[in-house]
Amino acid sequence: MLEGMVELPVRFRIQLAILALSMVVFCCAPSAKSQGNYEIQVYGADTLAPKSIMVELHSNYTVVGQREMIDGVYPTNHQQHETLEITQGINDWSEVGFYVFTSLQDGHGWQWVGDHIRPRVRVPDSWHWPVGVSLSTEIGYQRTEYSSDTWTWEIRPIVDKAVGRWYFAVNPALERTLHGPGVADGVGFAPAAKVGYDFTRAISGGLEYYANYGRITSISDLHDQQQQVFLVTDLNVSPKWEINIGVGIGATAATDHWIVKGILGRHFSWGKQSAVE
């Protein structure tokens, strides 16, 4: 009983070490491009509780985007991306997420785009860190019609902190391509950040920032970088529901100029849920 409680950080440290080692290997390897606007979300550090699952639908519509087909990749303009994300809590400090990416577009219909898997671990509460910290890694495939890089890998440190009505999160993610023309590009730096403010217990608003600076060893010119800012609101209507709505503007030529996004999530629990659990 008590032994289990004490062992938990040790197991976590081992996983953290494996992930850190992966990160070193990853940083030494060639690189990649961004993965498209299928899941537009700044991650918080918390993980899902064990014996529970979160089902989320990410709906993103590119109002103004790339109008030309480039290297066999469909243009993003007026693409509707529907992404199903299913996250399973493993224990008090880890979870695994699974994604199904799809796209709807005139002339192409509703197409399956690809799948990703995303394990994540976090610093346990018992460590009493002043900020929330977790580490996510994501690997997956997408079809060449939607991304010239078909296999990609991302590692995403996550740090967040709530102070009174303010909420801050940063995700300095690193990306690389495992298969595709981006393999030779080196490690890409794709940070994201969020600042939120609680107007009420149920309604929060804020800004989300997404970027891709290109190769970490050779930052791209601003013209070629992806730079997006979203005005968002989070509706905390119930612990069972997650609602995030936003409108984003892309500030560079390499970024889709207008995107509307929405996330609708539902939390489910199973197993014995008596009051003594």
Binding site: M1, L2, M5, D125, R165, W166, R201, A275, V276, E277
Partner: protein, 442 residues
């Protein structure tokens, strides 16, 4: 209050006490390391270098003097919880009891009453420091010997529940609340504390105190039942056997356990995560060994009403002046604890209730918040008069009652102890965030 004021007030209190009596008890408030397990310790502040503090046994009606020396780095005050005392020695700065400055001392002289199981603890603000105030180790048992014991017993055992090493975490109500790493009985984690040794056929009287700063606790003793004889130290009209106890912060339960099931058992928290955090104690019968046995209850059961007078029919309705008290929270952000309000205002801006000596008052608690609140009235006892779905109760006298979220409870008390009287939620984070008000006598 500035340091100079502390010192002056302390000296006045000290002088007054010296005129009355030399101290019979001495309590030293000082930093202390409590060893929860051989591998886990918590640096805290305690009374006389022990957690819980020393057991104080007083005789009802016989004046006592207690010298308190403050060797800690913070101004302190000791509250004598559940006693009918004058405001200047009750132990709450808000009522007018002087604080004891660091390095200072004070003498509390009073006549202990009423008889029963009481306790003493610090009554300071902790704020964001989850090692100060009631989060720490400043609590101890106080027993005022009754003229007649509420129960016959062969052995008396005192147990204090506490939670340690807390941090503020986001909670389901959307604000920050303390969460703890360790939970203990008498300052030790299950398996590392002293065993309760009993003999077959004994009647063991348990005096159980929830000294947690914020947490409600549920207790069961595997293989046994509790015969409840007193709540908050006051004998109940209808003693009953129950399978488990619920104690909100600051509540006490006196229960007799008939030791008629030989073996080695666990007395522990019913909820699994608190049990796993260490709240438990081994109960071992003489001449029995082996691994202690825990029988996990599958539900939580507690009802104050079962201990009320059997003839709780509406008796001659006493005239009582009604005072509605509405509890609400004010959201301060997901990264902060809520502010708490009584009738729309937070302390020190809460209304002052005016009392007339000898009058009977009916407090109508309306909890419109998402949290439960163990509310405490200083210097008086109140009678539970109604609970949700139970409109006519009599005879259960308490000084703390848990008002669950979105419920209403009615209590009555007689204004029979003139002086400033504090009323507050006993959750440290709630009282620190405005959940207090004063009553004064006209």
């Amino acid at each position: 209050m500035e340091l100079g004021s502390y010192a002056t007030a302390s000296a006045v209190l000290s002088l007054r006490a010296q005129e009355l009596a030399a101290p019979e008890y001495r309590i030293e408030i000082a930093p202390y390391t409590v060893e929860l397990t051989p591998k886990h310790s918590v640096r805290t502040v305690a009374y006389n270098g022990q957690v819980p503090g020393p057991l104080l046994r007083f005789e009802e009606g016989r004046p006592v003097t207690i010298e308190v020396v403050n060797q800690s780095t913070n101004a302190e005050v000791v509250h004598w919880h559940g006693l009918f005392l004058p405001s200047d020695v009750d132990g709450a700065m808000e009522e007018g009891t002087p604080m004891i400055p660091p390095g200072g001392k004070a003498r509390y002289t009073f006549t202990p009453r009423p008889a029963g199981f009481r306790w003493y603890h610090t009554h300071t603000t902790a704020g964001d420091d989850l090692k100060k105030g009631q989060y720490g180790g400043q609590h101890g048992f106080l027993l005022i010997k009754p003229k007649q014991d509420p129960a016959r017993y062969d052995q008396e055992v005192f147990l204090a529940l506490h939670d340690w090493d807390g941090q503020m975490m986001g909670s389901s109500d959307g604000s920050m609340s303390p969460s703890y790493r360790f939970s203990t009985i008498n300052g030790r984690v299950l398996g590392f504390g002293e065993q309760m040794r009993v003999k077959q056929g004994q009647r063991v009287l348990l005096h159980i105190l929830n000294a947690s700063a914020t947490e409600v606790h549920w207790l069961a003793l595997a293989g046994h039942q509790f015969h409840i004889v007193a709540l908050d130290g006051n004998p109940v009209p209808s003693p009953r056997n129950v399978a488990m106890l619920r104690l909100a912060p600051a509540e006490r339960v006196c229960a007799v356990v008939q030791m008629d099931n030989p073996g080695v058992w666990i007395l522990g928290e019913v909820r699994k995560h608190i049990h796993a955090a260490g709240m438990g104690m081994v109960v071992e019968y003489a001449d029995h060994g082996g691994l202690p046995v825990w029988e996990q209850p599958q539900s939580l059961m507690w009802d104050y009403a079962q201990f009320a007078a059997a003839d709780s029919a509406p008796a001659a309705t006493s005239h009582a002046i009604e005072i509605p008290l509405v509890f609400e929270s004010k959201f301060s952000g997901h990264g902060a604890p809520d502010r708490w309000m009584i009738n729309g205002k937070s302390f020190p801006n809460t209304e002052t209730g005016m009392l007339k000596a000898g009058e009977r008052y009916r407090l109508l608690f309306k909890n419109k918040s998402r949290d439960d609140h163990p509310v405490h009235l200083h210097r008086h006892s109140f009678e539970l008069r109604s609970l949700p779905g139970k409109p006519d109760l009599r005879g259960v006298m308490k000084d703390v009652v848990l008002v669950e979220a979105d419920t209403e409870i009615t209590v009555e008390f007689t204004a029979n102890n003139a002086g400033a009287t504090l009323f507050h939620c006993h959750q440290q984070d709630h009282m620190d965030n405005g959940f207090m008000m004063l009553f004064r006598y006209a």
